[in-house]
């Protein structure tokens, strides 16, 4: 019983990280119709910049916030420099630009921070919390709390603020939004900044457990993309659910089957979902543009 609980905790922990990344994919997808393959690099940059700021002597909470803000700024700058000039065109060109951009960001991190893995201390020191025979690392609690905070914050932003309404309008109908006076171009910039901030948050939250290094982005990108697709692309709630499902699926496979096959099992489930219900487990009907 305590085993099942432990696997469940592990699944929720990874699931929360995947959810943050999937949210990033979803937000950019909603505003541009494209997949941002640099999402994983924002995850890497968050951790790297956090380590760097704290090595400058900043207290950890300040370093964390600074890293999120800096990554968001990089995300916005990336959009302005490379995505904005494309105009509203073929999403595939946006994808290509983000692929090229991810190579550049990864190389920058290699040049600036070196090839070695770097550690970050846990947000609160101390032994893990014991619940019914299972153990929860303190950092895991932080991951959950920060993910919850991010999700609630996003929900508030999207539902209650004028800014959020403009974002939603942009994602539903770009041209119509422009007609009613929404600066859709700026909304795309904001969406990149927001996605970058979420990626950075995930990277920062997990680095105390795993350390970070310049090339962690690509692998985690695949997980986040898979979670977003599994849930149903373009829907924030589904993205979070997709992340959690993916995390649980992996940890149950690792626990009860064989850790070697956890990626494979997750992928097989993903493919089955795609083939049976292409819009994702939680996605609604698909709209096709003619």
């Amino acid at each position: 019983m305590s085993e099942l609980l432990q696997f469940f905790i592990a699944g929720l922990k990874n699931g929360a990280i995947y959810a943050l990344l999937a949210l990033g994919f979803t937000i950019v997808y909603a505003s541009t119709g494209a997949i941002n393959f640099a999402q994983g690099e924002f995850f890497m940059l968050g951790g790297m910049l956090g380590v760097w700021f704290s090595s400058l002597g900043l207290p950890l909470p300040v370093a964390v916030v600074a890293a999120i803000v800096a990554t968001a700024a990089i995300g916005a700058a990336f959009e302005l420099l490379a995505v904005r000039p494309l105009g509203a065109g073929d999403p595939l060109r946006v994808i290509m630009v983000t692929i090229g951009g991810s190579v550049i960001l990864r190389q920058l991190a290699l040049h600036l921070f070196g090839p070695d893995e770097l550690p970050l201390p846990p947000f609160t020191e101390g032994a893990s919390i014991k619940v019914l025979g299972a153990a929860i690392e303190r950092q895991t609690v932080w991951i959950w709390a920060l993910t919850l905070l991010a999700v609630l914050g996003l929900a508030f932003l999207y539902r209650k603020t004028a800014f959020g309404k403009a974002m939603r309008a942009t994602s539903l109908q770009r041209d119509a939004a422009r007609l009613v006076g929404v600066d859709t171009g700026r909304m795309v910039t904001y969406s990149f900044a927001l996605a970058a901030a979420l990626g950075a948050l995930a990277g920062l939250a997990v680095t105390p457990l795993t350390q970070t290094v310049f090339d962690v982005g690509a692998g985690i990108s695949v997980k986040g993309f898979a979670a977003a697709i599994l849930g149903g692309l373009g829907n924030p709630v589904a993205a979070v659910a997709g992340g959690i499902v993916l995390g649980l699926l992996e940890s149950m496979t690792a626990g009860y089957l064989n850790p070697l096959y956890k990626d494979a099992v997750a992928l097989v489930v993903l493919l089955i979902v795609l083939f049976v219900k292409p819009s994702g487990i939680f996605g609604g009907g698909r709209r096709e543009k003619v």
Partner: protein, 323 residues
């Protein structure tokens, strides 16, 4: 007259490619140009898939891998003649393409990209775990050179001609398909699927055929790679390779075959620029080396930004043909 002139670029390219080994004696350069050919072969298939059928694959490294392992297994463990191994490699990859394309028919855009990515990752696991066939993570070595009958092809120049010969053949097949009726049908898919369907185009057939063909091209590229290098391991067929191959097809431009070949050349040669620029001081070459990946990423971004039609668009008339 104008119709004939359209073939001038292809003819010039063919001649340049064909006579290159006569002018270049350096084995290293020939080797690099052979790698260009291997990438071009897969890129032509991807261009067919993407440019003409409007489908994106993020898993083509898996088909390259299937071809490579099939050829390696047939020639080393089964000791089959090389041509048989090569044919089996192409067939198996095509079969893989068929298996993936059938359930993917309902998918489009990003969902198809994800499905192909998932397939690619699954095959990566299979390459590592199928050690009786694949040699596992340690890879498979001692793969013999290509041989046709008793004639072994081992000299860099002959290997180069073999690879580029296959590229030429693939391009010819692709050209025939795209310039005939099914090709125009495929091109129409890139615009609007519903529209094509309304015009009586067999959308499903075109999609499946293009997927199978592009997988077969990738498999042939893999088989040639395995015989050319003599050693393969799972790390040669990863997601990043799939992404690079797709980049070659996209940077090349849609609706063209020469574009992807040129971009495969450009993006492959970019990874060797330190060794290709003549007269570079060694210190400078080392600096260039450490920034090679940066230049590669930047090149992709710049081409997409400033050449919307890809490399193919660069020599098209402005406002003429649709990019």
């Amino acid at each position: 007259m104008n119709r004939l002139l359209r073939f001038v670029p292809a003819a010039v390219l063919t001649i340049v490619v064909a006579v290159l080994p006569l002018v270049v004696a350096d084995r290293f350069l020939l080797k690099v140009f052979t790698f260009v050919g291997l990438n071009a072969l897969t890129a032509v298939g991807l261009a067919l898939l993407f440019g003409y059928a409007g489908q994106v694959s993020l898993g083509h490294a898996a088909f390259v891998g299937i071809g490579a392992y099939a050829c390696a297994f047939c020639t080393t463990k089964l000791e089959l003649p090389w041509l048989a191994g090569f044919a089996i490699a192409a067939l198996l990859s095509a079969l893989g393409g068929l298996l993936l394309s059938l359930p993917s028919l309902r998918l489009k855009g990003h969902y198809l990209a994800m499905a192909s990515l998932g397939f690619g990752e699954l095959m990566s696991v299979a390459f590592v775990e199928g050690s009786p066939v694949t040699g596992g993570v340690n890879g498979l070595g001692g793969i013999p050179f290509p041989a046709i009958g008793a004639f072994e092809i081992r000299e860099p120049a002959t290997l180069y001609w073999l690879v580029w010969g296959v590229v030429g053949l693939a391009a010819l097949i692709a050209f025939n398909i795209t310039s005939l009726r099914p090709g125009r049908a495929m091109r129409s898919l890139h615009g609007s699927e519903l529209g094509a369907q309304a015009c009586g185009v067999d959308v499903t057939g075109v999609k499946v055929r293009s997927f199978v063909l592009s997988a077969a091209f990738a498999g042939m590229s893999g088989a040639l790679y395995a015989s050319f290098v003599g050693f393969i391991s799972p790390s040669v067929f990863t997601l990043s390779v799939s992404v690079n191959l797709l980049a070659m097809a996209v940077v090349g431009g849609t609706g063209s075959l020469i574009g992807p070949i040129l971009s495969a050349a450009a993006l492959t040669l970019l990874q060797y620029i330190d060794a290709l620029i003549p007269g570079l001081a060694r210190e400078t070459a080392q600096v260039v080396q450490s920034f090679q990946a940066d230049i590669y990423g930047l090149a992709i971004v710049l081409v997409v930004l400033f050449a919307p039609g890809g490399l193919a668009g660069l020599w098209r008339r402005r406002g003429g043909e649709r990019p």
